[in-house]
Structure formats: structure tokens, C-alpha cells
């Protein structure tokens, strides 16, 4: 019988305790963050979307080689001596036209290994994390500042330059060979002359 009243009391009392707790929560500020409007600031070292600052890129291909999933593709063309590509922000001279710098972010595993080898700190992780696309091809980011036409143009220019250089070299080599031959001939002539004179000397000596 005592247990019966105890149960009754506990039934009412515990409900009141619970109600007190929920009533307190009625006035505690909510913890919801209204995501698209309010975003939690990202940590400083988060690894999200890659970005390449093409002004600083020297086309050294080190990031592409570091990438474990081969999501970076770089094509470069040597600049002509007459081209002035300027300098990077940390004073390195740019010597290559970067005709292609594609990052397939769909493949990217966000390991950040490409960031460390960069000599000019031009490839880095940003805090952008909303880049969903409907088409997978839209996830290939093209960073190259040159248009494909400009790229082929540069390539042709370089080929022409290369050909010219080749030709020059050839010409130079030929000239050198010619000079060498002439020299040899001259030397031979000299030697013959000398031999003749020696012979004359000998004969003179004999006569004496």
C-alpha cells in the first residue's frame, strides 16, 4: 500500500521535474544555424577548393607531379627570348607560357600535397566549399590565362624560333667545319713548304 502511494507521488513528481526542464529550454536560445544565410567561418587551414594564381605560376609542373590522383594537367611552352613574361611576386623570372592548367576537382582528394612544392606559392586551398555542378565536366577548372588559340600561336612561334635556331646552329656548324678544313689545308701547305725547304737545306749541305 505504501508502495502504491509512493508510485503515485513519483508519477506526479517526476512529470513536474520533466516539465520544469522543458520549460527552461523554452527560453534558452536556439542552436540552429540558418545555413545558407549564416555560415560558420571556416578554420584557417581548411582544405577545400583549389585555386591557382596564374600571375605567379611559372609552369614548373611540380604540383602536377606531387598530385597522388593526377588531377592537375599542365602544358607549357618555352617563351622566346624576345618575350617578357615578367616576374612572380617573390622575384622569380617566368620563362614558360602556361598554355594549359586544368584541375579536375572531381578527382581531387584535398590532400594539399600540391600546395607545398610550389616555389611561388601560387596554388593554394581556399575556403570555398559550395561548388556542386550538374555536369561532371563543369568540375574541370581551367586556370590557364591564355586562350587555346594563343596557346597554339605561342607554340608555333616557339617552333619557328626553334627551327631558326636549329638552322643557325647548322649554319654555324658548317661554317666551323669549313674553317677547320681551310685551316687544315693551310697547315698542310705550310708543312709541305717546310719540308721542301728542309730538303733544299739538306741538298745544299750535301753540295758543300
Amino acid at each position: 500500500m505504501l508502495n502504491y502511494f509512493k508510485n503515485t507521488w513519483e508519477g506526479i513528481y517526476t512529470v513536474l521535474v520533466g516539465m520544469k526542464i522543458t520549460f527552461k529550454h523554452l527560453f534558452t536560445p536556439e542552436v540552429t544555424i540558418q545555413y545558407p544565410e549564416i555560415k560558420v567561418p571556416m578554420e584557417e587551414r581548411v582544405r577545400n577548393r583549389l585555386y591557382v594564381n596564374m600571375d605567379d605560376c611559372i609552369g614548373c609542373d611540380q604540383c602536377a607531379r606531387a598530385c597522388p590522383v593526377n588531377c592537375i594537367e599542365i602544358d607549357t611552352v618555352k617563351a622566346l627570348p624576345s618575350d617578357d613574361l615578367g616576374k612572380t611576386s617573390n622575384g622569380k623570372k617566368k620563362a614558360l607560357w602556361v598554355t594549359k592548367f586544368d584541375i579536375d576537382i572531381a578527382k581531387c582528394c584535398y590532400c594539399q600535397l600540391c600546395v607545398f612544392p610550389c616555389p611561388t606559392d601560387c596554388i593554394y586551398m581556399t575556403d570555398v566549399y559550395e561548388f556542386a555542378e550538374y555536369d561532371r565536366n563543369d568540375l574541370i577548372y581551367k586556370f590557364a590565362t591564355l586562350t587555346p588559340e594563343e596557346g597554339t600561336e605561342k607554340k608555333e612561334a616557339f617552333d619557328v624560333f626553334q627551327a631558326e635556331k636549329e638552322a643557325q646552329k647548322k649554319a654555324a656548324a658548317e661554317a666551323k667545319a669549313k674553317a677547320a678544313a681551310e685551316k687544315k689545308a693551310a697547315e698542310e701547305a705550310e708543312a709541305a713548304k717546310k719540308a721542301d725547304e728542309e730538303k733544299k737545306d739538306d741538298s745544299k749541305k750535301d753540295e758543300e
Partner: protein, 356 residues
């Protein structure tokens, strides 16, 4: 109210229809709109969330959007369902909960029927809901629906006993079944409310107070069980029975069930408020009396009635988000082993006190 409309329209049948439909369109529908939103907001705030915020300013139009969505939904009737009963069930459930409003005194100027059997009518007609729920569960031809319906029937019928016993003790004390007269007895100040012993005076009043509080607690718990609200929501326990008796319903029929549930919530809150908390009576005089403005009093009374009703609806929501669901055996234990004996003892003691 009927007389006013009769004067206005001059047609008895039409004015009857209008005065009968008045609580539906003036009260239940707006109440359901507000209460569904309030339920979601209260639950959200109790769980440190925000609740609906997208539709309208601060999410205020969320229920309107929900209703529009329900209007557009396909009305699915399962091919193996008993179509006649299936279509009739939501109407019956709603009719049962709507009929209760006929006897509830909203204010001094508006009461659906001035019936002398008021509270008895309420207890009787609200049992119609059980028939509707059983009908829905059976006609759905779905085991979850049937289980939900059977549980609901068992629960509602069981909890009608403590409800009736507490109401009986009050009726014994007041000597009337008429809800309007019951309210009029608790007039003037809040210490005349039945929770504080009613209009009795002296030693009788002091003796009555603890038993009235016990009666109020029993009545509140059992009415909570009668409207199938948490912690007594085993008929529609979503973790066990999908959605209970309305699993197979969609679109407007589901909306009618929903509306009936909210109408029921307010109805039982109104009954509790009328029986124990003075109904439409103000706890401390009226502004209309103070300024001598006659027509202000019914409006104030309606306001007080709404406030009291909404408060108990809020407590129902509060309990819902506080307590977990009871098991079936716990539910029955609570009813038959605890509440009915207490209600009986309470009835006898109040009877003895009223003899003093």
C-alpha cells in the same frame, strides 16, 4: 446568437445552420491553423531549435502552406479497403469532436445549445469518435490501422471512466449538468473557481481545495488520454504503428483527421477550463463593468475563454514534448489501478464534504 441570426435572415433552418457552423469557421479552423504552427514552434523551442521559418514572416504561414499542399494531394483509397466505411470514418470522427462544441459556452452571449444535459452530452458525444476511429482502422484493411484503432478504442473507453467520475463529483457539488450554469456559479473572482472550492464558503471551501486539485489532475490526465496525445499516443505511435488508424489516409481525409484531433484538443481543454477554471469568467471583474460598456463584456468573456483554453492546449503540447510514450500495459495500469480508485475516493470525499 441564434436569435440574432434569425432576426437577420428570417429563415429558421438557415439561421440554425449558420449558428451551428459558426464555431467551425470562426473558431476551430483558425484555432487549428494557429495550433499546428504553435505545436511545431513550441516543440522547436523546447528542443532549442527554430521551427518553421521559411513560409511568410517568421514562418507564420507554414500551416496555410501545409493545408494548400493537403488540398492538392491525391485522395488515395486502397483497392482492398472498404470504401464506404473508409470515406465515412473521417466525417464521423470530425462530427464527434465538432459536436462537443455545441455544448461549450464560449461566452455569455454565445453558446451553441443551452442544453440542461451539457456536460453529459459532451461525454456521450465524444465517444462517437471511438466509433469513427474503429471504422477507419477496420475499413483501411491494414494491420497497423486496425491495431491503432483497437488500441485507441481501448484507451478512450478506459479513460472515459475517470473522466466521468471526476465530472460526476463536480456535478454533485454544483447540482447542475448545464455548462453555462456551471460557469455562472464561478463568477466574479478567481477564488470562486471550482479548483479553489467553487462558490462554497467557510470550512467547506478549505476542505474542498485539495480534493479539487486531485480531481483536476485526474481529469486533465484522462482527457489527455482521450484525445490520444503524447504520452498517451499509442494509437498512432509512429515508431510502432506507422501512423495508427490514419495510416492509409491521404489528402483531405487525412486533413480532416488532423483537424478533428486539434478540435478535440481544444474541446477537452475548454471542458477542463469550464469545469475547474471558471470557463469564460474573468478572474477579476470586467472592463465593461468598470466603464459601463455593456457590449464589451461578452467579448471579454470570449477572450478569457480562449486564453484559458489555449493555456491548457499549451500544457498539452508542453507535456507532449516532455514525456515519452507509455507502453500499453502501463497505460492500462495507470487508468485502472491508479486513476479510477483515486477518482472514486475523490468522489466519495467530495460527496461527504458537500454534505457538511
Amino acid at each position: 446568437m441564434y436569435d440574432i441570426i434569425l432576426d437577420f435572415t428570417g429563415n429558421e433552418i438557415l439561421s440554425m445552420f449558420i449558428s451551428a457552423a459558426l464555431p467551425l469557421f470562426m473558431f476551430i479552423l483558425p484555432f487549428a491553423l494557429v495550433a499546428v504552427l504553435a505545436e511545431r514552434k513550441v516543440s522547436a523551442f523546447m528542443q532549442d531549435r527554430l521551427g518553421p521559418t521559411r513560409v511568410g514572416p517568421k514562418g507564420l504561414l507554414q500551416t496555410v502552406a501545409d493545408i494548400l499542399k493537403l488540398f492538392q494531394k491525391e485522395d488515395i483509397v486502397a483497392s482492398n479497403a472498404d470504401k464506404k466505411l473508409f470515406n465515412l470514418a473521417p466525417i464521423l470522427v470530425f462530427a464527434g469532436s465538432f459536436a462537443v462544441f455545441a455544448a461549450i459556452p464560449f461566452s455569455g452571449a454565445y453558446i451553441g445549445t443551452f442544453a440542461d444535459v451539457g456536460i453529459f452530452f459532451v461525454v456521450a458525444i465524444s465517444s462517437l469518435v471511438v466509433a469513427g476511429i474503429l471504422m477507419a482502422g477496420w475499413a483501411s484493411n491494414n494491420k497497423y490501422s486496425l491495431l491503432g484503432a483497437v488500441r485507441s478504442a481501448a484507451q478512450i473507453i478506459s479513460y472515459e471512466i475517470p473522466t466521468a467520475l471526476v465530472i460526476l463529483s463536480l456535478v454533485m457539488l454544483a447540482g447542475t449538468l448545464n455548462l453555462y450554469e456551471l460557469t455562472e456559479m464561478q463568477t466574479e473572482y478567481f477564488w470562486n473557481w471550482y479548483i479553489f472550492g467553487g462558490p462554497a464558503t467557510g470550512i467547506q471551501k478549505i476542505l474542498l481545495i485539495p480534493f479539487m486539485i486531485v480531481g483536476f489532475i485526474i481529469l486533465y490526465i484522462s482527457t489527455l488520454a482521450e484525445v490520444n496525445r503524447t504520452p498517451f499516443d499509442i494509437p498512432e505511435a509512429e515508431s510502432e504503428l506507422v501512423a495508427g488508424y490514419h495510416t492509409e489516409y491521404s489528402g483531405m481525409k487525412f486533413a480532416i483527421f488532423f483537424l478533428a484531433e486539434y478540435a478535440n484538443m481544444f474541446a477537452v481543454s475548454a471542458i477542463v477550463a469550464t469545469l475547474f477554471f471558471g470557463g469564460f469568467q474573468s478572474p477579476f471583474g470586467y472592463l465593461g463593468d468598470l466603464f459601463g460598456v455593456e457590449w464589451l463584456i461578452p467579448i471579454e468573456q470570449f477572450g478569457w475563454f480562449t486564453v484559458k483554453g489555449l493555456f491548457f492546449v499549451f500544457v498539452q503540447m508542453w507535456l507532449r514534448w516532455t514525456l515519452p510514450r507509455l507502453r500499453v500495459d502501463q497505460l492500462m495500469t495507470m487508468c485502472w489501478k491508479y486513476m479510477i480508485p483515486y477518482a472514486f475516493v475523490n468522489l466519495i470525499i467530495i460527496g461527504i464534504i458537500s454534505l457538511i
